[in-house]
Assembly symmetry: D2
Homo-oligomer: 373 residues x 4
Amino acid sequence: MRTLKFGLIGTGYMGKSHAIALHSVAAVFPLSVVVECEMLADITAQQAAVKAKEMGFSRATGKWHELVNDNEVDVVDICAPNGLHKDIALAAIKARKHVYCEKPLALNAVDSLQMALSAEEAGVKTMVGFNYIKNPATQLAKQIIDSGEIGDIVHFRGTHNEDYLADASVPMNWRLKRATAGAGALADLGSHIINVAQFLVGAISAVNGDLNTVIKERSTAGSVIDKESVENDDQAHAMLRFNSGAIGTIEASRVAWGRKMGLTYEVTGSKGSIVFDQEHLAEIQLYTSDQKTSRQGFKRILIGPEHPDYQNFCASAGHGVGYNDQKIIEVRDLIEGISRDQAIWPDFRAGYEVALIIDAIEESYRLGQWVHV
Amino acid sequence: MRTLKFGLIGTGYMGKSHAIALHSVAAVFPLSVVVECEMLADITAQQAAVKAKEMGFSRATGKWHELVNDNEVDVVDICAPNGLHKDIALAAIKARKHVYCEKPLALNAVDSLQMALSAEEAGVKTMVGFNYIKNPATQLAKQIIDSGEIGDIVHFRGTHNEDYLADASVPMNWRLKRATAGAGALADLGSHIINVAQFLVGAISAVNGDLNTVIKERSTAGSVIDKESVENDDQAHAMLRFNSGAIGTIEASRVAWGRKMGLTYEVTGSKGSIVFDQEHLAEIQLYTSDQKTSRQGFKRILIGPEHPDYQNFCASAGHGVGYNDQKIIEVRDLIEGISRDQAIWPDFRAGYEVALIIDAIEESYRLGQWVHV
Amino acid sequence: MRTLKFGLIGTGYMGKSHAIALHSVAAVFPLSVVVECEMLADITAQQAAVKAKEMGFSRATGKWHELVNDNEVDVVDICAPNGLHKDIALAAIKARKHVYCEKPLALNAVDSLQMALSAEEAGVKTMVGFNYIKNPATQLAKQIIDSGEIGDIVHFRGTHNEDYLADASVPMNWRLKRATAGAGALADLGSHIINVAQFLVGAISAVNGDLNTVIKERSTAGSVIDKESVENDDQAHAMLRFNSGAIGTIEASRVAWGRKMGLTYEVTGSKGSIVFDQEHLAEIQLYTSDQKTSRQGFKRILIGPEHPDYQNFCASAGHGVGYNDQKIIEVRDLIEGISRDQAIWPDFRAGYEVALIIDAIEESYRLGQWVHV
Amino acid sequence: MRTLKFGLIGTGYMGKSHAIALHSVAAVFPLSVVVECEMLADITAQQAAVKAKEMGFSRATGKWHELVNDNEVDVVDICAPNGLHKDIALAAIKARKHVYCEKPLALNAVDSLQMALSAEEAGVKTMVGFNYIKNPATQLAKQIIDSGEIGDIVHFRGTHNEDYLADASVPMNWRLKRATAGAGALADLGSHIINVAQFLVGAISAVNGDLNTVIKERSTAGSVIDKESVENDDQAHAMLRFNSGAIGTIEASRVAWGRKMGLTYEVTGSKGSIVFDQEHLAEIQLYTSDQKTSRQGFKRILIGPEHPDYQNFCASAGHGVGYNDQKIIEVRDLIEGISRDQAIWPDFRAGYEVALIIDAIEESYRLGQWVHV
Ligand SMILES: NC(=O)C1=CN([C@@H]2O[C@H](COP(=O)(O)OP(=O)(O)OC[C@H]3O[C@@H](n4cnc5c(N)ncnc54)[C@H](O)[C@@H]3O)[C@@H](O)[C@H]2O)C=CC1
Ligand SMILES: NC(=O)C1=CN([C@@H]2O[C@H](COP(=O)(O)OP(=O)(O)OC[C@H]3O[C@@H](n4cnc5c(N)ncnc54)[C@H](O)[C@@H]3O)[C@@H](O)[C@H]2O)C=CC1
Ligand SMILES: NC(=O)C1=CN([C@@H]2O[C@H](COP(=O)(O)OP(=O)(O)OC[C@H]3O[C@@H](n4cnc5c(N)ncnc54)[C@H](O)[C@@H]3O)[C@@H](O)[C@H]2O)C=CC1
Ligand SMILES: NC(=O)C1=CN([C@@H]2O[C@H](COP(=O)(O)OP(=O)(O)OC[C@H]3O[C@@H](n4cnc5c(N)ncnc54)[C@H](O)[C@@H]3O)[C@@H](O)[C@H]2O)C=CC1
């Protein structure tokens, strides 16, 4: 079997999760290639070396350029802050590497488009880490919608709310600055729910949004006196119009006390509805209009072997998948896409389509009116 | 004890509910007056007579004018379709009756204001039937917010979704025509959630909404061939900005398959959150930021004797209240407001404030931009 | 229309609830008689007079004997502590009154049988206040089971857990003494879930139980020094075998921290299951084995107009009923049973059947083995 | 770093799950040894070879004896049917291998004790695959109980119900025969919940149970005509008494329609309660008695980095763990126990303690009375 060698950049939250997925995927899914964890880059050579050992990578570097241009590396996996995605990805594409990049793809739509076009021109495969659409439950929702079981979609309501910055005493970090993060909750969390909306309901034609920064200043990390401005939104919501005629809303917040994984959606169709909550990630609620009135209700479907990509994790229904299992499915899609030269979704183009919506929401906020995409 | 004599107009869904509340209230709450079900008006004298017997009213009439001007009637209780509220209420006020009117107060804000001004000038008491804010659970939410326990409110998301018109084969009825109903789901259901938003978060300063009619034609009632246009929205949503600086969204739908009583809200503050779902009407979920990280979570508080207005229904917590119990509380507030000459809320002015928001949402939809209220 | 005059004994928790139901029932259900709240008895004449005014009864007495023998009283309604049920009921039956008695029927099965036999001999109607089986949701469960939709019942698990005595500092009261209460949690709460088990699954043929008193002493009410022994169980559970071949368990506790209304059951059949929780009293969860594997799940059915006895409360599904609404249905069944001379369930015989199981569980506990009923 | 080489026997449901865990564990947890998937045994050499390739094992054999006695193998991992556990484990112990064995440890307590004694004598490490107690949520429950936060435990109710054999047309398989499985649902699922009860509440002193075979015959696998007897229980429940004085019940069923992963428990203490449901495996409900009455309720705690063993999977709370993540924790405990020569739990002795309870429940069923353990 051919081998596919990964070079991972960034060893924080996502770096760890990608490493777990890369090491686990072959045990879960039959693959057509052998995956190797070849090289790891971090902010210094020393940290990279430590992490490489910890995370099971063969080699390490303090310079991502080295990794990107290393002859052994087949796939560049970007788990660095948003502001670095573009430079790393363009360099990787130039070096004819496939690129696996965390979300949001870049700081804005223009950059995202440049990345997508470069990759398409170079003929390399790309994937963006919107893992929630890889959840078997959400794949099931998609199957149900595509099958027509709930009819034509008429409404979508999605949220991705968390509370990781609700505490005003949390100091400044890269997520709060435009240069390193782009938009705030809208890009960090909103990008996921926009991607879900596009996955389940299709293209969005117009948006009209509102943004708000609740905690306007944060203490400089490490300092007790200094304060810095928060440069992007803490909470965002927008009304959406889809090409199909459906309407909807999305909402993202990083200051929503109590929400730890508040990615939820409710999709209403002309013949039924689906309700989902990522805090109970292994189930959906399904309502169909063909039920006898006296027996009608939402049905709680626990994910099982009959549903997409579950069987390989577990032979019994309802036993549950976890966060990292989504990344395993994502990595499988990437690997098989590369190995078999098949289309991958969500690729950089899909990442660009999300970025377009983010930018349009920001513009609609500035203009106070609808923006057509 | 003084007696307070009610004249009820309309004997449909709400007429029945009001009758139950009027007959039950004295057994639940200690009152300072004796309530009497004096007179009932319906569309014909015959139907009024039948219903009066059924619903325990002493006298009946086929003409609401007679009821409104009857010397014995102290309070006119309007449970007729929206389009009649204004004429009946103005006539009742002219006759110096107190007026209890179902929501929405009128077809639009202009009419609503006229009603409120007339009542204020005449010095009669008024109440609008926004019963959901009388639910002990929602009163508890209000208490918690007012106490500062969840800090300054930063976000509100409210919905009132039902599916009573999701089936496209349901024929035309008064709720679907502008002359009899005004707005669609926005007025019928949205009025409730707007009222809840104002109750919990305060005055709304600007709105920006979207409306949509999913089922554009319905068969004429009784006919197999004829079709008529639906004249108002099946689903509506809007972004809100509150005077306080909080932002939010509301949503109303009458075509949301599976939702039977989908009045929900999530109120996020700088120190905590409250989540509520009227399908589980006797509880709220409360999250406060003062919890130890390893023991943090939403707490499900079942309504009990320590909470507003529950004790009189039941001595034990968690035993539950039902829809009509809200109406009993509403009627108690009305009766005691009249008897003790105290302020009542929500009165016609509050009904007008809801109507203002409905009209502004419709205008924002036409203009495609924010409308300041 | 004929009138039916009620004499109520006891004005505590249940007295109030009965009074609400008696005053409300005619507004909810069409009745074939006029209900009158004729007389009220409490422990002193003074308290009775105060409560009669408060609760809308025409006359009052400090001696229940007077009420029981009053010529105007048609129905004696017993809301006094368990230890008084037998004497009052036998006196009432002797006076040829119909008797409505709170649960548990008496202190033991022998007394209960005597009461049932007297009533049957005298030809008076009786009812025991097991209101939970009047809940529309539980009536729906019964309908589903009777229809065969979930096949032959193979298992039943029921609980009735509360925490009203979990706090060890709550002082002694009548519920904790054999002479006034009989068994402890087993009689107070267990009687309800035994009645539910018999309602849904049929007669019980053998039991094997365990009892336990967690808090063995309580302070004498009003004293800071004196302590008294708790004379009955704080928590009880038992295995059941039904005539039908089904097996099951029940559990009752008054020290189950956090449970406010923990009456729950899960009924498993050869073709499906029903799950119920009284803290969400207006819904059941239904699973049927005929579902496509990839769409199988428990369905949450919100109670609506198509279900037993809901329509009269509300025209829309999912709007909810409360605790007192169950008592309204119970009172309707009693009134119509008397007025139309129809069988009533649960009558004193049904109360005796519950008492038999309670006694048998206590005996099985003493013997450490199965007891056949 | 030292290496630890695993030999896996059985490649069905559990074999796959163990393989995933062995391949993933080093990416999740820092380990003090290198894990190698050395050898795999299955029922034929051919199947073993195919599976070894699929599941990433270096060598394969059709004879488990070869694996057990292979010099390279350090740990024998038994994922074969229950009836084989004893022979394989004793052979492995004789060969001085550490043994990782799926639950239930053996067909009965006598065999289990022999296995535990052999291992103890030989000084090899053992572990039994009761993975549910490795769930971070259940580890948190244990922490809370041990900390005294809910006081002295007074009651435990546990279930492990599934519906994998509820369909009467599922043919005969090894789980239904005494020689290959031992007890039925009681051993297959009940063993888990007994283990949980012992983990959370401590040693059990007496049991009193009931057993029942709902579907008495099943068709011979592959045949349309032949039927065979089911030799063990489809559903079982028992009352428990713990050494501590707490009482409780457990329940196991393989015919509980609708339950896919129905491992649940409710632990009541003198100062609070914990409620858990494995279908929502990443959370517990906690109630403590120190709450203000008007703010009391069960708190839903989503598992996060502050809780046992979660941080290594994910840096954010509420993102969820899956079934296989429990196995990863289990394998980590095994590996580190071996590598650092530390005590492992649950080991074969713990497996024996579960077997004792299973046998005692069966005996209590035969005798119809309590059996002391
Ligand atoms: N798909 C998902 O659910 C999630 C995606 N993300 C995305 O993953 C990316 C990384 O986020 P986190 O892991 O949370 O951040 P983090 O702050 O935990 O980790 C960032 C890592 O990048 C490294 N890094 C920074 N500058 C670097 C440089 N010049 N060269 C090499 N390495 C460098 C840091 O040393 C650190 O290891 C972001 O784009 C974020 O939006 C983050 C969390 C969840
Ligand atoms: N607070 C709440 O939760 C609810 C409020 N409503 C409100 O209650 C009002 C009535 O609605 P429903 O009871 O659902 O309608 P409905 O259609 O069930 O009943 C309307 C009643 O008005 C009577 N009516 C019509 N024209 C009349 C006339 N000229 N004179 C006298 N009676 C006349 C009809 O005969 C009928 O008895 C509406 O304003 C509606 O928005 C309705 C349902 C719930
Ligand atoms: N169906 C249900 O869900 C419930 C049923 N119950 C049952 O209702 C009955 C009463 O219980 P609660 O109302 O909770 O008790 P409580 O202690 O609140 O009230 C008892 C009432 O009986 C009165 N009473 C006592 N001795 C009397 C006498 N000699 N003559 C006249 N009145 C006397 C007391 O003054 C008091 O008004 C009990 O049998 C209890 O088991 C209680 C609560 C719920
Ligand atoms: N911890 C847990 O949650 C679970 C534990 N188990 C336990 O795992 C064990 C295996 O169960 P499953 O994997 O469900 O069974 P299974 O029937 O799916 O797999 C059994 C495997 O053992 C192999 N096998 C049978 N005889 C063999 C022999 N003589 N030599 C070598 N291999 C042989 C079979 O070929 C098959 O690969 C059982 O003890 C069961 O109780 C099963 C499921 C869940």
